[in-house]
Every structure is written in C-alpha cells, then in structure tokens.
C-alpha cells in the first residue's frame, strides 16, 4: 500500500473551510485524513511543505492540447507536463481537435493518449453538433458514455437558434452540461481585436462587445425555454458580467468562467502587431477588465480557466490579423491568480476556490477539495518563490505567451494526481 505524508504545510481547502497548518495522509491514491494520523500509517514518501501552501489540485475548464491532429503545435506529453508543473490535475479538452470529438472513437483515443502520457484525468468535451458544423446534433449520449463530461461547440457557430434550442433540449434529456463560449459569428466579422481605440488606430478588423453579449443573451433565453444547464466560458466584457448576474438573480441555473489573461491584460497592453496578444475573445478595455475582476470577486463568475492554446512558431509568425489566436497559458495560471490576491482583488481562498471547488461543482465531479475519500489531487506551491518565464522553466511546447522573459512570484513545487507525484520541482517533473 503506497502511503504519502504531506506535512508542515499551510492547508487551504475552501470546501471544507480549512485554512490552517496541517498534514495530509494519503493511502492508495486517496486522502484518508487531514487531521489525525491514521493508525498504522507508515509513509513511503514524506513531502515537507514547510512555508508552502497546500491546496486541492487545479481543475481547468478549457484547454487545448493539440492532439489528436495538431501534434506539430503540442502533444499530450508536452502539455500534460506543463499542466502538472502548473498544479493542474484535471483538464477539460475542447472538442475542436482533428478529428473533432464527435464520435466515441475519438473520445476513447483521447483517454488512451491521456493514459500514455501518465495523466489520466483528462475530460473530453463532446462536440454539440456533428463536425462542429452547427447543423446536426452529435450523438451526445454515446459520447457521454464514452467519457465526455459535457458538450460544446468550441469557437464554431451553431447555424441558427432552432438548432441551438434542439441541441440544448437534447443535452437536457441526457443530463449533460453545455459549455458555451458566446460569440455571434456575423457580428464578429472575422475580427482579431476588440472594437476600440486600439483596433481603430491600427486598422485591425474588430469584434464588438455585442458579438459576445447578444449570443449570451440569446442563450440565456434558451436556458429558460429548455432548462439546459449551461456554463458560459471565457467571458470578456462588462455587459456579460451584468447579464450573468441578472440571470442568476432571476434564478437561472448558469455559471461562468473567465480566462486568466482577461483579468490582467487589456487592449492598452498590446504591443502593436505582437501576435502573442492575438486571443479570442480579444483583449478588451480597462473597464471590461475591472468588471471581470468584480464579477470574480462577487462570485458572478465562479471559475478561472487557463484557456490554454499552445501554438508552433509559424502559427504566430505573420502580420497580426493573419496569425492564429490563442495563448499558451497553463504555466502562468497560478502566478497570475496570486497577482489578483496581491492586488486585493480576491482573497487567497477565493482564488483557490475559483481553480478547484468551483469548477468541480460546474462539472459535478468529486474533486477540487481535500475531502477524505476523494482522489488525492493536491497542489503544493511556494507563494514567494520567484521564477522567470524562459526555456529552462517552460514545459509547454507552445512559447506563445506575451509574458515571455517576465519574472513571476509563486511557483508550484509538487503536484499529486490521484496520489501519484506527477511534478516535483526538486526532481524535475513527470
């Protein structure tokens, strides 16, 4: 029986209302105690977490690992190593892989790839529509049985509201969560930057706030009509926060997340024509950022995701509008969350909950807490440890981050996934 002891750390677990010095006792991959030492406990491994924080492993609601289909950009091996070193123990995978996650075979292939990468806790999100084309329903029940945790259409539009309505009704019938990034394709007008002063000055095709908020408002109406459980992903603007707040107050069963970079960057931060700032939804205004931050602090937005999208060099090498959108962002997730705590936007407990307990609740999985009987998914980090974003420290194959070269405070030292040490700063990882 493998037994692990994590001692001397400061335990933080928002679900069980723990914020104290203590130890975690792990037997056969499960947490057996966070208080007293169990009788006969003889650890094979002892992790000394002196001066470190110990919390549940992070759950990321939106990532792309680029396999299957785009292994030139990244692989399960490279990106799960990045996830492990970032303290992330559970990943949701967007369905826009190649082939698309719309058959059980692809879902099974993903499970297989995850196992091979020694990182089993990867949940595919099934395509809402066949081939993500927005016209025919996918075989949602079969996909659920093959291990998909939710349905979604990634960044692809659904042809019309009738199809969206039926897809949501069908999802309800099989008790499936719908993960939706609101974006009206036509209003988006193939834009690459927020419709604001920056896009105007540099003559870039732009995306108005309304592309997001109109799609969001339409979907909220359909939530009421269909009763579908919807999680709105990667919101970016002020009016979206207001709409989610009103919908929740009105009693709709909805939740929402924000990509970590939307809480820190705005159009004003963009170095002109630097394609590392090309993301979708686009970086918006200072006011939008403040609303996203307030939304997070008040609980209107309950989760933070990385929205990790690694790219190869060629994808980002070109004139801004021609480059592919997305940021490699798993490894900056924790330090950027800690920055929100340092700037008094949220408390440490809120920050950790937005990466653990809250996404677990969205997905309805037994994770995101240091609860006895749960898988021992644990993240141990040193909030004071400084590190630089450089080739030596970076694990993701995608180096497409505007934070390249910057020094951050706060680094994960150990990550356990179901009681298995998948990252340790001392020994290198994985």
């Amino acid at each position: 029986m493998t037994q692990i002891l994590i001692k001397n750390g400061q335990l933080i677990d928002p679900v069980n209302k723990i914020n104290r010095a203590g130890s975690i006792y792990i037997v056969e991959g499960k947490i057996v105690s966070v208080t007293n030492e169990p009788i006969g406990f003889k650890p094979d491994t002892i992790i000394d977490a002196q001066n470190k924080l110990v919390c549940p492993g992070f759950i990321d609601l939106s990532t792309r690992l680029r396999e299957p289909g785009h292994s030139r950009k990244a692989t399960f091996k490279s990106e799960t190593a990045a996830a492990a070193s970032a303290g992330v123990t559970t990943l949701c995978l967007q369905p826009d892989t190649h082939p698309v996650i719309d058959t059980p075979a692809v879902a099974e292939l993903i499970k297989e790839l995850a196992k091979k990468a020694d990182y089993p806790q990867i949940y595919p999100i099934a395509a809402l529509t066949r081939q993500l084309e927005g016209t025919e329903l996918s075989t949602m029940l079969t996909l659920k049985q093959a291990g998909c945790i939710a349905v979604g259409n990634a960044n692809h539009p659904v042809r019309n509201l009738l199809i969206l309505r039926r897809a949501m009704e069908y999802a309800v019938s099989h008790d499936l969560l719908f993960m939706f990034r609101p974006n009206d394709y036509w209003l988006g007008n193939n834009g690459c930057a927020h419709e604001g002063a920056f896009a105007t000055r540099y003559g870039l095709p732009s995306i108005p706030e309304a592309a997001e908020t109109i799609a969001l408002a339409q979907c909220l109406e359909l939530v009421e009509l269909t009763g579908c459980r919807v999680h709105f992903g990667q919101l970016s603007c002020r009016r979206s926060v207001i709409k989610i707040y009103q919908a929740k107050k009105y009693g709709l069963q909805v939740s929402a997340d924000v990509a970590i970079h939307q809480l820190h960057l705005t159009e004003n931060n963009i170095t002109p024509f630097d394609s590392n700032y090309h993301v979708l939804p686009p970086l918006r205004t200072e006011e939008d950022k403040q609303y996203m931050r307030q939304g997070l602090a008040s609980g209107t937005i309950n989760s933070i995701c990385s929205d990790h999208q690694p790219h190869d060099i060629d994808a980002k090498l070109g004139a801004f509008p021609e480059t592919e959108p997305g940021m490699s962002s798993l490894e900056t997730l924790l330090p950027l969350m800690l920055k929100l705590v340092a700037e008094s936007v949220i408390t440490m407990e809120q920050g950790i909950a937005s990466l653990t307990a809250n996404p677990a609740r969205v997905l309805r999985i037994e994770s995101g807490a240091l609860t006895v009987g749960f898988n021992a998914d644990v993240c141990i980090f040193d909030p004071e440890l400084e590190w630089q974003v450089n080739t030596e420290n970076w694990k993701s194959q995608g180096m497409n981050t505007p934070y390249w070269g910057q020094t951050f405070k706060g680094r994960v030292t150990h990550t356990l996934q179901a009681g298995k040490l998948i990252h340790s700063l001392e020994n290198g990882s994985h």
């Binding site: 095709p205 170095t271 002109p272 024509f273 070109g318």
Partner: protein, 320 residues
Amino acid sequence: MSDNLQLNSEGKLKHFLSIEGLPKELLTEILDVAESFVGMTDQQIKKVPLLRGKTIVNLFFENSTRTRTTFELAAKRLSADVLSMSIATSSTSKGESLLDTIRNLEAMFVDMFVVRHAISGAAHFIAQQTAPHISVINAGDGQHAHPTQAMLDMFTIRQIKKDFSNLRIAIIGDILHSRVARSQIQALNTLGVAEVRVIAPKTLLPAHVESLGVNVSHNLNVGLKDVDVVIMLRLQKERMTSALLPSESEYFKCFGLTEDKLKIAKPDAIVMHPGPINRGVEIESKVADGPQSVILNQVSNGIAIRMAIMAMAMQKQGIV
C-alpha cells in the same frame, strides 16, 4: 516597439512604417528634404547619385499603378537599381511564404524593401523579420497606414497654405477602411493643425474614431463650414454589397463634393484626393478639375516626397 522600430539609436529614420511615433521635427525634415528635390525634378537631368549602387525592391502584394510608379521613379532619380515585383496574394501566401519571399530577396543583397500588402501590420512584420541592414518603407498595409501618401499630402498642403497651425481640415468618406485617412490624421495632428474633422455615415467610421484626435460629423453641410482643406477619400464599390451603404447615388447626395457644397468651406479652400477618383460618386468632375483642386499637384509631389523618405532611410548607413 513600433516607435523604436522606425528609428535607429541616433533617432534617424531607419524604416518608414507609420506616422505614429515620429516627432514633428522629423516630419518637417522630410518635407524640407522633399522641397530640395522638387526643383530638381523640373530640370533636364533629373537624377542625383545619392543611392547609386543600392538595390531597392518594390514588393507589391496588392495591385497599384500610381504608388508603384512613383516609387519606381523616385528610386531611379536617386540612381538606385529598382526591381518591381507584383505578387498576387494567393490563398497559400500566408506568413511563411511572405517570410520566404523576404528571405530569398535578402539573399540577393537588397538594401530596401518598399512594401504594399492587404493585411494591417504586414510592413511592421517584415521590418521585424528582415536583416538589420535593410530598410522597409510601407507603401500601404491593409487598413493601417499609408505614410508616404500622408506625407505627400502634407507637402501639398504646406506648399499652398505655408503654415499648419491655423488650418481646419475635413476628411470625407470611407474612414473605416482607409489607411490613408489614419496616416493623414496622425500627420496633421503631429504637425499641429487647429482641427481635423471626419465626415461620413456611421457605417464608414471606425468605433471610437474620436480617439484618433478628430471631431466627427455625419453632415457635409455642417462639417465643411470654415474648412481650409477638403480631403475626399475613394469609395470602393464593395461597400454597397457589404451592407455599409445603400447606393452610390444616395452616397453622392449626402457626401459627394459638388461646387455648391464646396462653397460652404472657406473661399480659398483646397480640394485633395489620394486617387484614383470615382467621378460622380464622391466628387463631381467640375470640382475635381476645378480651380480649387490640387489633385494633380499631389501626384507630382509624390515623387519628391518618396525620394526624400528613401534617401533619409538610407542615411543611417552613412551614404547621404
């Protein structure tokens, strides 16, 4: 980045990509240098040996006759060797092939690229990627900038009006899609004019256009009042099919420059147009060919201004 990219460590022009980030003194210097070339182009022998032995490649990823011709003439009058390439933008010519084109030409010991491209930021991208000894001149990138056009317009304005400080300028038409307008607005504001106005329907104005430092009007009769310089922009036919405008005739009725409308501006107002003109769509022939029009002056000045910019960008190599 965009600011520093254009200037070398001594603050001299290295690339000419955008008006943004260039100080007033530098813009004035460009106008002064161009002034010295204007007299020269009237002479029998139109060449100076400033860029002898230098190779300039015109890379036109987008069609153009006038701009390419004036760049060619400007380079030849500076005694440079010029090669003009028209590269149709095929579906495959994305980042990699653009970069490959540049790399191949670099390997042929080119000294300067003059680039026109349909995507905003293309000239910046090439300037970042190219070998350090090569200068890049932006001859128009997407909807971003067309700085040499803006400078020849400034030159034409200064020729006639002498001083910028009291001028009111109205720019009329498709501001949204116009790289010319963006560069003109930046140049006019840098040179310190009294007011820049843009006049267009809301569908042809970018969001937050005021952030560029302009006043906005949707009415030509109001917007032209007290104006010293009227700049008309070309209206592309595609604007009708993309639901930005209902019809050419309705556009002409509201925003077309006629003799009557021009009377609202100051009596000595000049009329400019970056060309090519759509007669009867944005401007009436009587105005385009009339006494207040300086449209052909703009074309002739284009050569002198491009000579000045090319010569100054090469100056960093200590040859001028």
